[in-house]
Amino acid sequence: MNNWDFSVIPKYFTSFMPYAWMTVQVTVFGLLIGLVLGLGFALLRLSKLKILNYPAKAYIWAIRGTPLLLQLLFIYFGLVTIVVIDKIPAACIALGIHNGAYIAEIFRGSIQSVDRGQREAGLSLGMTSGKIMKNIILPQAFKRAVPPLGNQFIIALKDSSLASAISVGELLLHARQLGSSQYQLMEMLTIAAIYYLFMTTVLTVISNLVEKKLKVSDNKSTI
């Protein structure tokens, strides 16, 4: 074990590709579900109707108060008893439900941060609350949500590794399996780390670019 041989890295590097692709897929589908749930629950959470607030509060409370690994196992084994579900969609759903709670809070914060004068201006033009939300508040709120969302996406990408617990064939699972079969765990974990670092770096760069671009369109005084 103390005889690490990093020269094997190039040899195994490409074999990680399909597993990295699985990581990407689980993350992307999980985030898509999370974004939809997040927006929905954020709107419920902010609704003037108190009855709608409670389910949103309960959801956010339950998800933020329990570990993702538990949620993943809960959903996979829980769902299996009701419907036939494969481990990959189960992982996407679990990641989606988990991220939904955090994304709901991100959206809630960014919606609330839009000055209430914006709503009043919309109202005074004769817009209904729904139109104001769609045309005035959300476009501004989404811009403000970009930095925290970027951060959440990176967390989700790393968290997708927990899907290995229900043996979804993603990066970490492959690294561990290959590592134990070849007795080269450190080397294989290093390869996985390189993949993760590459992907999170790409996400960071994209998020920074988007942020910059939105800033320009909102505040063109630099031109």
């Binding site: 004769g126 209904t128 139109k131 063109k220 005084s221």
Partner: protein
């Protein structure tokens, strides 16, 4: 696509230097005043003068025939236990310009915001253009289309261009095609001297310019009344004049206006009536020269002595 409009600049001086016409006949020109483009102004001005002459002849004291645009009866509003409006009664005739003055916290904004139902009063009756409106109505958004509002902090939409701001209501509320809306938007921006900036964003223009765009945005909806809540108090002193000029022009065109302001010069020149509000009550009202030079109520006198 933006035509530079120096005509406006010439006009500005011209309009500004004119003295105010008699307030009474304003209602007569109210109908098409909003549609004027800069080219239309000369004609419109001429028409207006003719009509004013006619009106002067007809006038002879039959003020009663001017329809009432806003009628407020026994309006009371509480925030929790705090009663901020106490039995307000006010009626504003079509074409009338009413200036509301009063100390900070006296309830001026609240009163104004009750008129377009941004705040809902617990007691009293509000009628707009003869129709009594219940605060419980599900169609308040339709009422608000007819009542334009200009805010102290402009509240332009930062994610929309200047033109985008002006056409937002036209497209999203009135369902106008964007082509048609832009045509109207150009007229409105021209009217406030902001057509040049149609394609820029609110953050790129000065506060005074933003406020003029906000006025254009409200006017585009062709409201029956315009409410102004301290439209110049967030502006640097040198930017106040342009906004007041636009408001004066609007008043001359016959727009019904309720203006909360500390600009006493504007009140003197433009208002048909000045209303002094104190602790949620209308304490005194009258023509500007009467209120400013000959107030009866000691509280009015005290307030004016501080501000004048």
């Amino acid at each position: 696509m933006v035509e530079i409009n120096d005509k406006y600049i010439e006009k500005k001086g011209a309009t500004g230097s004119k003295t105010k016409e008699e307030p009474a006949p304003k209602n007569i020109v109210v109908a098409n005043s909003i549609e004027e483009s800069s080219e239309g102004i000369d004609i419109a001005d001429r028409l207006k003068e003719e009509k004013i002459l006619e009106a002067d002849i007809e006038k002879k004291g039959d003020d009663l025939e001017i329809p009432i645009m806003i009628q407020i009866k026994n309006l009371s509003k509480w925030y929790g236990k705090h009663k901020v409006l106490k039995n307000i009664n006010l009626s504003v005739k079509t074409g009338e310009v009413v200036v509301v003055i009063g100390a900070s916290g006296s309830g001026k904004s609240t009163m104004l915001r009750c008129i377009n139902f941004l705040e809902k009063a617990q007691k009293g009756i509000i009628s707009i253009d003869g129709k009594e409106i219940s605060v419980k109505s599900k169609k308040l958004h339709l009422i608000r289309q007819e009542v334009g509002m200009v805010f102290q902090h402009f509240n332009l939409f930062p994610h929309r261009t200047i033109m985008g701001n002006v056409i937002e209501g036209l497209v999203k509320v009135k369902g106008m095609s964007s082509h048609e809306a832009i045509e109207r938007g150009k007229k409105m921006l021209d009217k406030v001297g902001m057509l040049e900036k149609a394609d820029t964003y609110p953050s790129m223009i000065s506060g005074g310019q933003q406020q003029r765009v906000a006025i254009a945005r409200a006017l585009a909806m062709e409201p029956k009344v315009m409410l102004f809540d301290e439209p110049t108090s967030a502006l640097d002193p040198e930017l106040v004049g342009d906004v007041l000029l636009v408001m004066k022009k609007l008043a001359k065109e016959g727009m019904t206006m309720i203006v909360v302001t500390h600009e006493m010069g504007f009140a003197r020149e433009v208002a048909d009536r000045v209303i002094f509000v104190d602790e949620g009550e209308v304490i005194e009202e009258g023509a500007p020269n009467i209120i400013f030079d000959n107030a009866q109520n000691p509280r009015t006198k005290e307030f004016l002595s501080k501000i004048l």
